[in-house]
Symmetry: none
Subunit: 230 residues, 4 copies
Amino acid sequence: MPAPQPPVTPDRPTVRDGLPAAPESPDGTTARAKGRPRSAAADRAILDATREALAELGWGGLTMGHVATRAKVAKTTLYRRWPSKNELVVDAVASLFDELVMPDLGSLRADIEAVVSQFAALLARPETQAALLALFAEGTRDPQLRRRIREAIVDPQKRLVRQGRAAAQVRGELAPDCDETAACEEVDIIFDTIAGTVEHRVLVSGEPITAEWTRRFTDLLLGPFPSLVP
Amino acid sequence: MPAPQPPVTPDRPTVRDGLPAAPESPDGTTARAKGRPRSAAADRAILDATREALAELGWGGLTMGHVATRAKVAKTTLYRRWPSKNELVVDAVASLFDELVMPDLGSLRADIEAVVSQFAALLARPETQAALLALFAEGTRDPQLRRRIREAIVDPQKRLVRQGRAAAQVRGELAPDCDETAACEEVDIIFDTIAGTVEHRVLVSGEPITAEWTRRFTDLLLGPFPSLVP
Amino acid sequence: MPAPQPPVTPDRPTVRDGLPAAPESPDGTTARAKGRPRSAAADRAILDATREALAELGWGGLTMGHVATRAKVAKTTLYRRWPSKNELVVDAVASLFDELVMPDLGSLRADIEAVVSQFAALLARPETQAALLALFAEGTRDPQLRRRIREAIVDPQKRLVRQGRAAAQVRGELAPDCDETAACEEVDIIFDTIAGTVEHRVLVSGEPITAEWTRRFTDLLLGPFPSLVP
Amino acid sequence: MPAPQPPVTPDRPTVRDGLPAAPESPDGTTARAKGRPRSAAADRAILDATREALAELGWGGLTMGHVATRAKVAKTTLYRRWPSKNELVVDAVASLFDELVMPDLGSLRADIEAVVSQFAALLARPETQAALLALFAEGTRDPQLRRRIREAIVDPQKRLVRQGRAAAQVRGELAPDCDETAACEEVDIIFDTIAGTVEHRVLVSGEPITAEWTRRFTDLLLGPFPSLVP
DNA sequence: TAATAATCGAGACGGTACGTCTTGTCTTTGA
DNA sequence: TCAAAGACAAGACGTACCGTCTCGATTATTA
């Protein structure tokens, strides 16, 4: 969700600054906003500058003024789009998480290990490392921010778990869902477990995710299905 | 680990500010430091003020100046003891984690569920919530701080996993350890899983830890030992 | 001098924005400009808004953006006519000074007192008070602005002194001018004295111009002509 | 009135920032303020920087941040002493006016001409020119500032008129005062006339104060006493 | 009637200064 | 020697205006 801004990339309207982005006229066509349209180049420059600055300076060193300077943009231009550092970083980081994919390698175990590896690699990037926990920390105090983080960063990744389950069911490794609600809860619990554990290992303990560790962790996840554990 | 300060509670020297706290004379008696001794009341007031301010204002709203004012202490006195907000909060929060205990309720499942509940309750407290992820976030940029966090907050809780395993082995629920190293790694992986998952559920997803959720999560943890899953 | 703008009131061309306002064709008739003509209503709305804003907010509170908003006009429209706040306020205030008149009441003393009263009343108006000294202050740094202030606001009022002298000469109160240059200098000195003194009394000392004060001040001005002092 | 600040030059307490500057203990001795005393060097550097910046950049170009930078002082240090540009400039300019003196040259005419010349020279200095009218303009909107300007800059100069009158009375050029109140009002009117007229001539008309002009203006002032006009 | 051209509104743009806040250090007096 | 009080330099904060620009829409004259 790379923070598109209305008149420039009107494909997917966001509520980035709380205002309707692309007002529609009654006939359904996208109404042209009045006044000078916002610069798409500025949007891109700002998000790029944010990611660079995160990687170089970390969360604490990231300053709105610094981002503006680095993006060669006025501070007003920055604040017009994102009301604070938090929202800016959410958008800047969200796109990184869209790179994660469910590969479908032919076995549930292989798929899990691949996703864990991808996630570990993502968490090893300095911009992710600098931003993720700090955002989560801010989210604990600001429910609206937490919702934004979940919508833009966290929840979209649950698709990986759902896709993996579906593929395993097609392959016959897992039984088909009988109860929709229970399936949903199981997706949640699996997702929280994978995400939380890998984050804790990498970001808190500060230890690497090796192939061996991934194998053992996958053993744990597959525990309820002994037939899948070698 | 309530951040004792040397001349006052000389039972366990800390490295709080990098200096040996209670120098010992050659004859083994604790040497009296020169000059006016530091006030023990100030230490307590500072840590209490820190916890209160964390609960009220969150991590971002917590400032050294504010803590000093609230503790009715000069800023100099504060900085003389803790070099920065990070270290101060580590000490202020660490003691809260010492409240966690392994109850030994007669079954591994019951023990796990009890510990998860305790941890969830701890994470529900505003001061913990405000501080924990913020500290972890700071730790990703400052290896020394990360070490301090692990030593004071995270690693001590691994005892819970070890105690739980030992009790289960005594009860015959788990086989005795054969390989010491493997056992250690298993403790680590279990710990990261419990800690990370519960943190993610509470602090990121912002959803409560219910008895039902705890049961399902324990099912997952006990997956490799089907005999323990009802 | 109510800031006429060329195509609308082409009677007296101004140099308001440095460009020839109403280009003349070779045959002497005023050539009609191409394109959409400037709105006369906008001019009036802007000057009215400027005077109102001056009275309400003072010089410092007056901003171009604010004037544009209050006049329901785009900022571009404002800047197209007046290059800066200074020029705008000169035109907005100048017309107020045109209200001053030399009454010819039958004696020099009465005429002087009448003019002083009128001037004091003008200086008591909030828009004048807010603008006059601020314009003079700006003028000390910008010779072109000072010239514009003199041409539009200050010098035109010297007619009052000249008219009063002429009337007194007709009445025989004053001797006729012998030296043209000396007469001019005397007009200047009298004008600077009246204008400066009243301004200082009202705007700096902040004390009112009473009838008693006016009488005493007129005594001073008439000092060189004892026969006129009662 | 060079803006002394309490613990440094405790001779004359000011109300510069509204707080009692040098609190006195009951026994009349000046109580020592707690904490680190304010730097006298900073005061001097700030006022010097203000005067320099006024001369170079004018009132509009004078910035609190600029003054702080030029004085090699933090902005907080500046704001701790003077709440705004207005108050700062009052203090920076006030001292310049203390240089004016009544010379007592043996005749009222000579004394008046000498004071007018001094005042004209003062108004010709760029820092005075930049500041004076701007301060007066601000004063029209802020009664407290106007009072401050009068107390620090304007009213102290009335001593010149009083001294001149007294000397002339000693010399027998003027009759002794009979009515105290009337004398006071006459001082006021004379002062407003001299100050206002010279200011208007120099700052508004922008024309120089020549010896010839001074002679003619003095003629006007001495009008009521024909015996003193040559 | 159509083309042309300057106007209009709206609002985004890069800049600059604002006055406040926090940080971590320093400099006093007093205990 | 420490405690308290508060001054100090440094620098980020988010806001307000500045004067310019880029739009689409409007309103005149000219062809």
